[in-house]
Symmetry: C2
Subunit: 440 residues, 2 copies
């Protein structure tokens, strides 16, 4: 394809004003036949990758483990065979850069991660990482050169708290370095293990203006797209998240000898609270979610009324004001239920991350690309956290989702169909082409 045709297509994808009949006609031609990646190659890589870190319990490529190292070696090989020259930053993030035609432009960044949770699946991370490599390779094979440089990234340790991308935007705290990853290794040690250099982390930091934009393809990790019958999710943003640890103190006493009206049952209070949080979050329309995921009882003995329960609430929404409002509501529920059950609720905030809102220009190019490819799509928030939320601190960001079968992820049953993955990579490629036009 000639450079001029390509620019016309990009203008069409970006839904830019089209001027003149020649361009219109080019646009029409493109929309009937947009660029596509080599989907078989991409899915072949994923199938090969499935053998790395697979255990009876699921995929275990937890950050800094031997399986993670093997996964990174496989990925490095993909960079090499795709003609992409790998650069490791001090955090151990893998980068490759394809120069653009305009040396004054900051790069467009695409990518994801390849580490997994414990007993996870093969799609959360690798899909977006390998698709980014495939997009860079396909663009080169199809002789498409962007104005912006194109960078491909594979972030390290996403599952342990978006560690690699946090370092890249300068938001990793010294305390984070002492966090123990699921492999049992600290982030500090892990960085050395994967070839980074913890003493030079500041060199890995990118500032505002260093990136023209970031687009990440990822599996949905929920069932919205499947339920709605849509092929592509256009991610409006990554929800803000607040985690509470709530300690409910009652009084442990004999389960047989203590009449029902003389109890200070911390478990009963915890149960009432769990039900009330669920009722509250569902009492309003919207996509807000709240989950009691962790709950520990003391003394946790069949014949003793629980004296203490510690539980967590995970609260998420794209709207910060809604998160704040539900926070206040949950605290009020704790006071009310505490009073009703003669127990005491103490709230501690464990995590508080603000919503990351996608760039509207990037949302538009993603939608236009999906439409051009004939793919059904819808806007949606990401309920899960992603490296994109970190990049959002310094650059325009958006994400593309492909369906997860059964809405399952972080599970050995995690699965996305090869066609859906190819669709996602095609949208990514065309969105990059269009973004090249609309981003400064």
């Amino acid at each position: 394809m000639h450079r001029r045709d390509f620019l016309q297509q990009a203008a069409a994808l970006a839904a830019l004003p089209v001027v003149g009949s020649q361009i219109r006609s080019a646009s029409a031609r493109f929309q009937s036949k947009p660029l596509v990646v080599n989907g078989a190659r991409l899915n072949g890589w994923l199938a090969q990758f499935d053998g790395i870190g697979r255990t009876p319990g699921g995929i275990n490529r937890v950050a800094y483990s031997d399986a993670d190292l093997a996964g990174r070696a496989f990925t490095r090989e993909l960079f090499a065979q795709s003609g992409l020259q790998l650069r490791l930053d001090a955090a151990g993030n893998m980068f490759a850069r394809v120069p653009g035609t305009d040396a004054s432009k900051a790069p467009i960044l695409i990518g994801s991660h390849v580490d997994s949770v414990t007993d996870g699946g093969n799609y959360d991370g690798p899909v977006g990482s390998f698709a980014a490599i495939e997009v860079a390779r396909s663009l080169a094979e199809q002789k498409v050169r962007l104005r912006h440089p194109l960078e491909v990234v594979v972030w390290q340790n996403e599952e342990g708290g978006t560690i690699g991308s946090k370092i890249a935007v300068g938001l990793l705290t010294p305390a984070d370095l002492d966090k123990v990853a699921r492999s049992g290794k600290t982030v500090r040690d892990g960085i050395g293990i994967i070839g980074g250099d913890v003493s030079r982390l500041t060199e890995a930091v990118r500032k505002k203006g260093d990136l023209a934009g970031y687009i990440e393809l990822h599996i949905e990790q929920g069932g919205l797209l499947e339920k709605a019958g849509r092929q592509i999710g256009v991610v409006e943003g990554i929800v803000g998240l607040r985690w509470f640890e709530i300690t409910i103190t009652g009084f442990a006493n004999h389960a047989g000898a203590t009449p029902m009206d003389q109890r200070q049952d911390a478990m009963l209070a915890a149960a009432k609270f769990t039900v009330a949080v669920n009722d509250a979050i569902r009492s309003e329309t919207g996509r807000q979610v709240a989950t009691v995921g962790r709950l520990n009882v003391t003394p946790n003995t069949t014949n003793v009324i629980p004296g203490q329960v510690v539980l967590t609430v995970d609260l998420r929404d794209l709207d910060q004001a809604k998160i704040d409002r539900f926070t206040a509501r949950f605290e009020q529920l704790g006071r009310d239920i505490g009073a009703a059950t003669s127990t005491k609720f103490a709230f501690t905030q464990l995590v508080n991350s603000a919503p990351a809102i996608s760039d509207s220009r990037l949302l538009t190019v993603i939608e236009s690309s999906a439409t051009a490819l004939g793919l059904s799509h819808q806007r949606m928030p990401s309920g899960a956290g992603h490296d994109a939320q970190e990049v959002a601190h310094i650059a325009p960001m958006a994400m593309i989702f492909v369906p997860s079968v059964g809405g399952i992820s972080h599970s050995p049953r995690e699965f996305s169909r090869p066609d859906d993955i190819t669709n996602g990579a095609n949208v990514l490629m065309n969105a990059v082409i269009a973004a090249d036009t609309v981003l400064p």
Copy 2:
């Protein structure tokens, strides 16, 4: 006191028909001045005993531990200094026997246990054990001789499942021998450690008719007496108990990416069930109790919707029909909540013990004794299990309760006032005297 006076007093205590003016007058004299134990001595023993097995967390005389052995050695010394000759049965239960005047009679048995729970108190068990020794000693000092032999018992390992008394009534199963006590030792090993002989356990078994009756003094372990302002609890029976383990299976999924209406949240189901069980048990008048005491969540992670919860329900009442009825109701609640939350409830019965009903003649002698001593009293069930429930399988049984301050037991804060303990021992002594008359 002369034997004849004593018998008259016994008749009065037993509320037997009084015939003739002479007996009436003796009865009147007795009722104004019933026999009493040496309360200072009894409470002195308890104060000394408090030093054995005391740790920062509470009393730890768990069965077969070094502290249990020390507690038993102390108790043995009390037998000796009280002129009671100790006999260890093959189970390691401690017995002493005071002959009666009628060699044809089976003995009246009194006693309790001296082992404790983990981090327990000094009153649950020792009060009744030492009071029994004190009663035997006081009767001897006051030259009172019963028609029946009087036996004092200190059962081994009550807290691990009324092990000693179960052996004594022939209800210990071979599997029970492999149970691990809180000391980490098996019952089998423990019996050897305390001087029993596991190969001769059948020799320890008592059959129906071997005992005329059994009376056990114990702390209440609940707050009923304190709340009602009563000094003595006359225990109508020991509640039947049913333990369920309920496995609730949902589906673990991402807490951020799974919409509220697409969840199979096992923790939410467990919470609804816990609240529903509480509502059900409180919806009827009566003293039935139900407790969710143990609850374990899988995977128990803040950001994962729980896929499985295993919880227990402890259900107790004096009425077997009521236990059966609530069992059915709880199972129905599981089905209903399972259907409403897209989860599955599976019930397993862990323990099922029938209520043990007290002997009406013994209840009467306890009440008459308390009245004669000027002590306020009320009938009540025992919500806690006791060795008496085992003895009930082979002999008429009743129990005497004294108040627990704050209703607290199985806790380092367990406390019963010395005066209340003396009151309880006095009721025990006079009840034994009266029982000697009413029991065949």
